[in-house]
């Protein structure tokens, strides 16, 4: 099912709002990660406003799809997408990383129960997704488990253990999404710890691989459609994203991985985003 022109416009508009919220919350928090959340804003928008079977007003709905954020440090995009989707008030985003906030610096479900899992230490989300998918298979439950991962995170051995197990068990209810923005804290992924040929690596672990631009709603929509139709394998979507996408001056610059914008930088970025004619 292709996305209509109207739907694409709505998604672009929503993604723009989510990016603005990300910048506002990071400026307010004075700490946190910028590049990843902005780069993943389009995919999170598509997921929360088109792909997911969920009910923000009833977050414990039994049949809901599950979302795991393995790379917990990009939580500003998760929080922002959830708030805009109606899980909690958008105003609450400004409490990010503050004492007593439900929006912990890395997601903690004790504070925000509508999260499916707590995360932060890298490499642990895919395994939890595999566990959820295995449990659903035992119970005969029909649903998808979506697991977001960073590309730098793939340095972690725990991920490859999970990949093997998912391939072995042909977990067709599990969809991994990799933020392939080519950066990590110390620099470019291919300099720090080369990942390529990344698609071939996943294929050789018996995963169905879909490579797609992380900023093209039409292509992304088709990718998720394709992912849902694969019956004999787990699926991974290698989403080629631009770090800090949406703020021209910051795009692709790894220095924005782990720092927030200052108030002035934030204002310039917000001005740029607000000027976008969608």
């Amino acid at each position: 099912m292709n996305l209509s022109q109207q739907k694409i416009k709505e998604l672009e508009q929503k993604a723009n709002e989510i990016r603005q919220s990300i910048i506002e919350m990071l400026v307010e928090a004075k700490s946190g990660h910028t590049a990843g959340p902005l780069g993943m804003a389009d995919i999170f928008t598509l997921l929360y406003f088109h792909v997911l079977q969920h009910d923000p007003k009833n977050p414990t709905w039994e049949k809901r799809d599950r979302v795991i954020l393995s790379n917990g440090h990009i939580c500003p995009v998760l929080y922002s997408a959830m708030a805009h989707a109606g899980y909690f008030p958008v105003e609450e985003l400004k409490t990010l990383r503050k004492f007593g906030s439900r929006l912990q610096g890395h997601p903690h479900r004790e504070f925000l129960p509508s999260l499916e899992t707590s995360s932060g230490p890298l490499g642990e989300g895919l395994s939890q997704g595999v566990g959820m998918a295995l449990a659903d298979r035992i119970d005969g439950s029909e649903r998808k488990i979506y697991c977001f991962m960073g590309d730098g995170e793939l340095d972690e051995g725990n991920i490859w253990e999970a990949m093997m197990l998912a391939g072995k068990n042909k977990l067709n209810n599990l969809i991994g999404i990799i933020d392939r923005n080519n950066i990590q804290i110390d620099g470019n992924t291919e300099n720090i710890m080369p990942l390529e040929p990344l698609a071939k690596k996943w294929e050789s672990f018996n995963w169905h691989v879909i490579q797609v631009s992380g900023h093209d709603f039409v292509a992304l929509g088709s990718a998720f459609e394709e992912a849902k139709k694969v019956l004999d394998k787990p699926v991974v979507i290698l989403a080629e994203t631009i770090a800090s996408k949406g703020v021209k001056e910051w795009e692709g610059d790894y220095h924005w991985h782990g720092k927030p914008p200052t108030k002035e930088e934030g204002e310039l970025a917000l001005k740029e985003l607000r000027a976008n004619k969608i």
Binding site: E110, E124, S127, Q128, E161
Partner: protein
Amino acid sequence: MLNPNLKLNPKIFNPDVEQVPIRKGFGQGLLKAGEEDKNIVALCADLTESTQMHLFAEKFKDRFIEMGIAEQNLVTVASGMAAMGKIAFCSSYAMFSPGRSWEQIRTTISYNDRKVVVVGSHAGISVGPDGGTHQALEDIGLMRMIPNMDVISPCDAIEAKKATIKIAKTKEPAYLRLAREKTPIITTEETPFSIGTAQIFWIPEVGLAQVGIIVTGGLTHRALVAAKELEAEGIKTKVMNLASIKPLDTEAIITLAKETRTIVTIEEHQIAGGLGGAIAEVLAQNYPVPIEFVGVRDLFGQSGTPDELIEHYRMGKNSIKEAVRKALKRKN
């Protein structure tokens, strides 16, 4: 004498007392728990028979996941299954899980509040010939430091069976510590067991005890033999079996200390951070008394028979008796 209220094994001091590996009780307990609750699942990292999970795996093929040799994945997949309402038991050797999988346990199980039972088999020095790499002597400390994590260390196979069945019914994540070697049967099916309750296995024939002995796991039998011999020598003791290291029965520990005013702790584990550490923390805060520690003193193990190693690292019967005499001398 043995505490008559607890219906302990009357043949406990016979030379031909029945001996069963503690891990066997876990295998039987898991099978029973699995029969009672279809939400129980089991995961193992290529040690299914060693950890005695095979009984469950054979009966409930669909609820058993073979993980391969991947302990980090073992505990994190278990967390994911628990997120969907399963009660997930995951087993390996204690050295590898929680040894290798500790941060994953902390984050995805305890912090994340998922009902997973981490089963560490082959714990302690008594693993024997495999040598120091395989002898987990730090696992009690590692696990009891994590918030939202129970730590249970049964003294024999029967207690291990009961503990497994009880743990399956609690809300909290838990660590179950098991030993490889055959261990004398101390308890009976009738002996009560509950998580968080310490039990006094040995009491003086008459009068008050002079020394309180607190022991956990496979050394409990040696502690009882030592207590019996000490009684013949005129030293009256009480022996507390402390299977539940967390939650800790602080009230029972303080009561024992008030009676005896000197304590000996015994464990097949580093003294630092283990049972001894836990007892010292409680008593220092509530009722300070001298404490003697029997356990491994900041050392790694090595190859040998279990008996050789327990003697070499001064955890045998004579070392226990020596510690009791020393504790008695230090008493105010």
